[in-house]
């Protein structure tokens, strides 16, 4: 029974430091590329609509995971989104305390999926189902990245 015979010797655990430096160049994918171009050019979210099950997905998808067929039809989402759930984050990615920021999962009526983003609102004023719209960077500054969206705000 090692656990009963041994004690943890954490204080003796010397360590050697190293890192694994790797860099990655990602593609957005076939549908992702269309999604980001629409965001950059027209500031709108692109959804894909399956011809068979009629489900729409946002962000756009190349194939329907349920019917398992390619999706060719797309449509832009022109209606505001709504808050499905939300949180206030007090620590950053590395675990350090950070300025509180409200994050929400934004969904759109009649569309599967959603977008996770900052919510430009006091945490105690956020409600489930609240209608929200995106605040975008100016056209000239947009690159088609998620960060083209500055935040969402109440409609």
């Amino acid at each position: 029974m090692p656990i009963l015979e041994k004690i943890s010797q954490s204080s003796r655990a010397r360590h050697w430091t190293d890192s694994i430096p790797l860099e990655f160049h990602y593609t957005a994918g076939v549908a992702g590329e269309e999604f980001r171009r629409e965001l950059k050019k027209n500031g709108r979210f692109l959804a894909s609509k399956c011809a068979k099950c009629k489900n729409s997905y946002v962000p756009a998808r190349m194939f329907c995971p349920t019917c398992f067929i390619e999706i060719k039809d797309t449509r832009t989402i022109d209606e505001p989104g709504y808050v499905y759930s939300y949180t206030t984050v007090n620590r950053n990615r590395t675990g350090e305390p950070s300025e509180p920021v409200t994050i929400a999962l934004i969904r759109f009526e009649g569309v599967k999926g959603g977008i996770v983003h900052k919510l430009n609102n006091e945490p105690n004023k956020v409600t489930f189902g609240m209608k929200v719209v995106a605040i975008l960077k100016d056209n000239a500054e947009r690159t088609g990245a998620l960060t083209d969206i500055i935040a969402f705000k109440p409609e």
Binding site: I3, S8, S10, Y86, T87, V116
Partner: protein, 386 residues
């Protein structure tokens, strides 16, 4: 024709924030203890199945190939299985394939995790599991989705944070009696409520810690089991399913993938009414609300009803359905894969009546263990019987 599979030995190391032992050494400690308790030596073992979560924790690419010496796997058929946080319960499922299929009569299953090497924090590894285009640019962390999930669960069923905190109180309390435990403690609901808000509604004491550790079990065929022991514990049902990584599409209030995995395992074990037939449960509890979520997915509580069951004391060690008598991840610690395997070990000890101070009051004959993970998308379930 599948064969019946028995668990005949279990082993575990200490779970600590940082252990001196290397991944190979942690694996060795757990493996040796499991073999000793089964009355076997490495020569008796025909195959080895290992489980470990991301390579990024230990900081060694191809970790499975690296740590295998510690699992006695040199020169033996060895495979590493992987479904993120679900890996701990998936590892004995992998072992079950080895034995139930008739390929081998004896299989050593070992789960290892050394999270401490990664800096600035083990949690940092997880940012790279998110979508590189759509999620990472915001600085996404796993805590975001847990808190979105917890809040949605609370909203849908009208659950209070205080009710959820009861799980942390219970599990950390249970862990006081576990010799491996990292965070056994007597705490109160108000301690949880007053702990640091990390990502509301998730607070410091709602969360399990990062840990180093390993755990192991020995699986054998029925023929071997009957020679070794009068008290085999049978691995009678296994199930696992995965949902998509598009977690934004999911019902965040209910783990459907756990339901599917549980139903698969129950069907195999011939269990028709889980709530009546399961005597003890070890659902995955990296967060207190997850124990509740998973009890519902495991069909051990109706949707939204697990909090009341907890508040009423049903899930205490002396209750009608003891849940996480080990102390769970919240109390014993969370070396990811090893934490899931710790639950399999706990059922082994509970069902043999060898859990000592942790032994549940009722005569436990059938238990279920479950783990969960990847990008909140996998359910792995094992049903065990004495």
């Amino acid at each position: 024709m599948k064969r019946r599979v028995a668990v005949v030995g279990a082993g575990i190391t200490l779970f600590r924030r940082r252990m001196l032992e290397s991944p190979k050494e942690l694996s060795f400690e757990a493996s040796k203890m499991a073999l000793d308790s089964a009355g076997l030596t490495l020569k008796d073992i025909q195959s080895v199945v290992s489980g470990s979560a991301p390579d990024a924790f230990d900081g060694v690419h191809m970790k499975g190939e690296y740590y295998l010496d510690g699992m006695g796997a040199i020169g033996k058929p060895h495979e590493r299985v992987y479904v993120g946080g679900g890996t701990g319960v998936f590892t004995p499922i992998g072992g079950w394939w080895n034995v139930a299929s008739g390929m081998y009569d004896t299989c050593l299953c070992v789960a290892e995790e050394k999270m401490s090497p990664l800096h600035p924090h083990p949690q940092y590894a997880f940012w790279s599991i998110f979508d590189q285009i759509l999620e990472r640019p915001l600085g996404t962390t796993l805590l975001w989705i847990f808190s979105l999930e917890m809040r949605r669960y609370m909203h849908k069923y009208g659950i209070k944070e205080e009710e959820i905190a009861e799980v942390a109180v219970k599990n950390k309390g249970n862990a006081i009696d576990h010799p491996s435990a990292q965070l056994g403690a007597k705490i109160t609901v108000s301690d949880v409520m007053n702990s640091e808000p990390i990502c509301s509604p998730v607070k410091r004491l709602d969360v399990s810690p990062p840990s180093d550790g390993a755990a192991a079990v020995v699986l054998v065929s029925e023929k071997v089991a009957k020679k070794l022991t009068d008290e085999p514990v049978w691995l009678d049902g296994v199930g696992w399913t995965l949902d998509t990584t598009h977690w934004t599409n999911r019902d965040l209030a209910y783990p459907e993938y756990v339901e599917k995995a549980a139903k698969m395992a129950y069907r195999m074990a011939g269990i028709k009414n889980p709530r009546k037939e399961i005597d003890v449960a070890e659902p995955y509890d990296p967060f207190d609300y997850k124990e509740l979520h998973h009890l519902e997915g495991l069909q051990l509580a109706g949707k939204g009803e697990a909090p009341k069951m907890t508040v009423d004391g049903v899930t205490q060690r002396d209750g009608d359905l003891p849940v996480c008598p080990s102390g769970g991840l919240l109390g014993v610690g969370n070396p990811i894969a090893a934490a899931g395997m710790m639950k399999i070990c706990e059922l082994f000890w509970q069902l043999r009546g060898e859990a000592g101070k942790r032994q549940v009051k009722k005569d436990a004959r059938t238990g279920v263990a479950q783990a969960w993970g990847d990008l909140m998308q996998v359910g792995t379930v094992a049903v065990m019987r004495s």
